[in-house]
């Protein structure tokens, strides 16, 4: 348990290579890493439960056994804690029966007291126990049923089932977000290590010992932390599940779209998982440079808003109008105005903001571009949030859009048309926003019915962040991709840049046109295309000192 300072050494792209012998063949692997990571670089997956790239090594599950050469000849060792040594010999289950038997044995031990819950277990389909069981082989059971299982559970949750078998704790309510099934727990202690080493608050612990050990909080205390839902991801079995997703979907039905969280300037890498045109959950996507494997509960629950209060049409003078009509009307208003104030936003992509910039440029002196946010900026929590709710703040700066929203408030009377996109100004600061009501025509592009659309004279529904393809620059100066998940509440909805293109008659047909416009304004983006950004983002040189 005190093994909480052995962080695994992960392979770096520029790491020195050493030669080791794996299953009789010499291969080159990064120096200094552990064998799990080293074998991964040459395409060999080592099954494991307790090992996690971003957590200290605990080495208790014993599933990742390989044979290595030591002073006493070839012997079993855990791959997650054996460092690569030049010239070492390694035998995996592909060449060693001993390894195969050891892994089968561990699998048998894991399942000896594990309930046969798979059909009702939310983890089924993405469960390490299932995967490793299928990989390990030996699928017949030697266990005598009349000896029974020893289900894990704290004394207060022990009960007898209809068979007369003593059972452990099922669906134990741990706190506001997480439910624990003590029987399913395989005591890998990943969650304990996460709460201690990453979250920094020890709220979970494995109590008692031997095969009656069980995971729990202090009796009567809750698991409550802004990052506590991460324990449901790292739980290799279905012991810890999130209340928000419990029983909603079977995971094998879900499709995945890789994107990022636009409501924090770190831009945590996430995957939106959807089925039947609806987003069901958000999972963290590993990016060692940005958010490691973690996302905050706020990010994780962001999907719930995607299907709530959506503005799927336009509205003009309090009456609903079809989108096309609303867009056309907006175009007339903007082009026919005396003076237009356009407000760009840091929660929109570079493409959207480039479109707004182009719109203002096209209107010549008639339009002025404003930006900024009244949202409160917090401080980084050191895990997966920078505390700044404006995701693309740096992108705006790169585009040369200054933060002068307060100036607009002061000069509101000069304008007769206001175009706001991606801002809920009235919700952030109704006091300041009140001045903007002096502008007679207020056009709002928003995915949601919100306080700002309520104040608009013309509102146009647009796609939300998870439904658009585009780019954002996070606070580290890393450009990252958003991808569109097929979860549109209405097929007619268009992204902001397209609506703006229609308003300003820019003639853009795809986000690439918009991106090219952004590229033209940002020298650091020269030569970087969407493919070059990749799933892990790309650090822009010289953007952040």
């Amino acid at each position: 348990m005190s093994n909480f300072y052995h962080m695994p050494v992960l392979p770096k792209p520029d790491a020195k290579k050493v030669t080791i012998n794996v299953d009789g063949a010499d291969v080159e692997v990064p120096e200094g890493t552990n064998l799990v990571e080293a074998l991964k670089t040459i395409g060999i997956d080592t099954p494991h439960f307790c090992y996690h790239q971003d957590l200290p090594v605990s080495g208790n599950c014993r599933q990742c056994m390989v044979e290595t050469d030591g002073p006493r000849g070839m012997g079993l060792a855990i791959a997650c804690y054996t460092p690569v040594r030049a010239g070492m010999k390694v035998a995996t289950d592909r060449s060693s029966d001993k390894v195969k038997q050891a892994r089968q044995a561990v699998m048998e031990f894991q399942l000896a007291n594990h309930p046969l819950d798979c059909p009702i277990c939310d983890k089924a389909g993405e469960c390490s126990l299932q995967d490793n069981y299928m990989a390990a082989g030996r699928h017949e059971s030697r266990m005598r049923e009349d000896i029974g299982k020893l289900y894990k559970g704290s004394p207060e949750f022990r009960h007898e089932d209809a068979k007369g078998q003593e059972r452990g704790g099922k669906h134990v309510d741990l706190g506001p977000t997480v439910i624990l099934d003590q029987e399913r727990c395989i005591l890998c202690d990943r969650c304990v290590r996460f709460m201690r080493s990453v979250a920094g608050e020890e709220q979970l612990y494995i109590n008692q010992r031997g095969d009656h050990a069980f995971l729990s909080t202090f009796p009567g205390m809750e698991l409550k932390h802004d990052y506590d839902l991460n324990v449901t991801d790292i739980c290799p079995v279905g012991a810890l599940t999130g209340k928000h997703f419990r029983f909603r979907q079977r995971v094998w039905n879900l499709s995945k779209t890789e994107t990022i969280d636009p409501f924090d300037s770190l831009g945590a890498n996430i995957t939106v998982e959807h089925n039947d045109g609806q987003a069901w959950r958000i999972m963290p996507r590993r990016n060692p440079e940005v958010n490691k494997s973690w996302i905050s509960n706020r990010t994780r629950l962001e999907y719930q808003k995607l299907s709530k209060d959506r503005l799927t049409a336009g509205s003009f003078q309090k009456a609903e109008v079809p989108l096309a009509q609303a867009v056309a009307r907006a175009g007339e208003l903007v082009r026919g105005a005396r003076k237009v104030a356009v407000v760009a936003s840091g929660t929109l992509t570079l493409e959207d903001n480039a479109a707004l910039q182009a719109l203002v440029a096209g209107l010549d002196k008639k339009a002025e571009l404003f930006s900024g946010s009244w949202a409160k900026v917090g401080s980084p929590d050191g895990i997966a949030q920078s505390g700044d709710p404006v995701g693309n703040r740096l992108g705006l700066k790169l585009l040369g859009i200054s933060e002068n929203l307060d100036e607009l408030v002061a000069r509101a009377k000069e304008f007769d048309v206001l175009l706001v996109a991606g801002h809920d100004l009235w919700a952030l600061d109704a006091q300041k926003a009140k001045a903007l009501e002096a502008i007679p025509e207020r056009i709002v592009l928003s995915p949601w019915h919100d306080a700002t659309t309520a104040k608009a004279t013309l509102s146009v529904g647009v796609r939300a962040w998870a439904e658009v393809r585009g780019t954002m620059v996070n606070c580290q100066g890393r450009i990252q991709m958003l991808n569109a998940a097929p979860i549109l509440p209405s097929p007619d909805l268009e992204p902001v840049w397209q609506v703006v293109s229609s308003i300003g008659k820019l003639g853009w047909t795809s986000e690439l046109d918009a991106y090219k416009a952004a590229q033209a304004g940002i020298p650091a983006l020269a030569g970087i295309n969407y493919r070059g950004i990749g799933s892990q983002g790309r650090l822009l040189e010289g953007v952040v000192a």
Partner: protein, 433 residues
């Protein structure tokens, strides 16, 4: 007359420092010691050939030589968490001669540059802890502990740390975890405690008996100690003999003494009660010896290793023909299942499962194949875990069943349906379905 190096003060009331000093105690803490460098002190122990008396038998001097000097503070932790079934020598040693332990600790402390030392005593030994604390208090008052010991400029504090009932804390890294205020679960190695142990500092973990041998070695010289015992197992060893012998107790004999001499000699156990059936020579985790093997066994590390067993902590458990080995094994598997720390999967689930199988067998519900399953489980959980507890369970399972198979088969045969084909109870989904 056997030279006694550790137990010579038994029965003389050496708990009291006045008596202990009259018997020659604390004579080593003087100029002779203060003139020695740490290097020479370690060299002395290395030359004596003293090996750890806690179970593994690792050369003490070599262990000390791994401890880096001059960096972080070095800790000395005395392993008095004597929990191995059959072992009770440290318990008696601490009770009878606590000052010798303190003297040994000062010598070791000098050699390693220890400022603070802890004696980790298992929780059940409260009387021994009280004895130790009283002795430590006396030693402080006499100036053998505390700051500037006897004007040498060397300071040493000794504290007793009471354990709370976990056999696994006898494993040195688990003991360190327990000392640090964690659950007593063994740590991954490397780093070994000698390099990074308690509070990530170099830590030397030594058994009570090992340290108590130091004053004699220092006084009489390494060569005199090495002259006793066998060339590879030097010196004397304290054996705790229990079970079916006429006079169970703690006996110090030179290593290499024949087992039967220990059991039969009038000086020691005075013979076996009833007809000998077997002997566990080194604590519960060492493989059992049958009568024939016991007859030729000599008590040293190498001879017992040749018999595929081990000297361990020197706990000799003797049992006669009237005792059921099935019951004995059942009590051992229950013990290991109870004491598994729950960290590594094979040990956590395996020891418990083996125990449940054997319980079923003892209850008369054994089936053909159960013993094979147990052997296979034992094979699967030995040497696949962080610490050797699972292997310590596998040893007795494999040896008891291997050497007394007929007896186990007879117990299985008590179930009239033992040979029936396994019946799977009718499919009845669990209540949660």
């Amino acid at each position: 007359m056997t030279t006694l190096t550790v137990t010579q003060n038994f029965g003389k009331g050496a708990k009291d420092i006045a008596v202990y000093r009259k018997l020659g105690g604390y004579s080593t803490i003087g100029q002779k010691l203060f003139d020695l460098s740490q290097f020479e002190m370690i060299d002395l122990v290395q030359r004596s050939g003293l090996r750890g008396r806690g179970g593994a038998g690792f050369p003490t001097g070599m262990k000390w030589s791994f401890v880096p000097r001059g960096g972080k503070p070095v800790y000395l932790v005395v392993n008095a968490d004597e929990g191995e079934p059959g072992t009770f020598k440290d318990h008696v040693l601490m009770q009878e001669d606590p000052h010798r332990l303190i003297e040994g600790m000062i010598l070791c402390g000098w050699a390693l540059g220890v400022r603070t030392a802890y004696i980790y005593v298992r929780g059940e030994f409260l009387p021994a802890i009280e004895t130790l604390n009283a002795a430590i208090k006396q030693a402080y008052e006499a100036g053998f502990l505390g700051e500037n010991i006897q004007g040498s400029g060397y300071s040493l504090d000794i504290y007793v740390h009471r354990g709370a009932g976990a056999y696994i804390c006898g494993e040195e890294t688990a003991l360190i975890n327990s000392l640090e205020g964690f659950k007593g679960q063994p740590r991954l190695k490397p780093p070994f405690p000698a390099v990074s142990g308690a509070w990530a500092s170099p830590t030397c973990v030594n058994n009570v008996e090992t340290l108590m041998a130091l004053p004699w070695i220092f006084e009489n010289g390494a060569e005199a100690y090495a002259a006793m015992g066998t060339p590879k197992s030097t010196g004397t060893k304290v054996f705790s003999v229990s079970g079916d012998v006429k006079r169970p107790g703690v006996y110090e004999v030179p290593l290499g003494t024949p087992l039967m001499e220990l059991l039969e000699s009038d000086k020691y156990c005075q013979g076996v009660v009833g007809k000998l059936k077997g002997v566990i020579p080194g604590g519960s985790s060492s493989p059992v010896l049958t009568v024939e093997e016991a007859a030729k066994a000599t008590m040293d590390y190498e001879a017992l290793a040749a018999l595929k067993t081990m000297l361990g902590s020197g706990a000799v458990v003797v049992f006669n023909e009237t005792r059921s080995v099935v019951g004995m094994l059942a009590s051992l598997t229950r013990f290991y299942a109870h004491e598994s720390c729950g960290q590594c999967t094979p040990c956590r689930e395996g020891t418990g499962y083996a125990d449940r199988i054997l319980k079923t067998v003892v209850a008369g519900k054994g089936r053909d194949g159960d013993l094979e399953n147990m052997l296979s489980l034992a094979d699967n959980f030995s040497y696949t875990t962080i610490c050797p507890l699972a292997s310590a369970d596998a040893g007795p399972i494999q040896n008891f069943i291997g050497k007394y198979r007929a007896e186990f088969d007879a117990v299985v045969a008590r179930n009239p349906e033992h040979a029936d084909e396994r019946v799977t109870p009718a499919f009845r989904p669990g209540a949660f379905w």
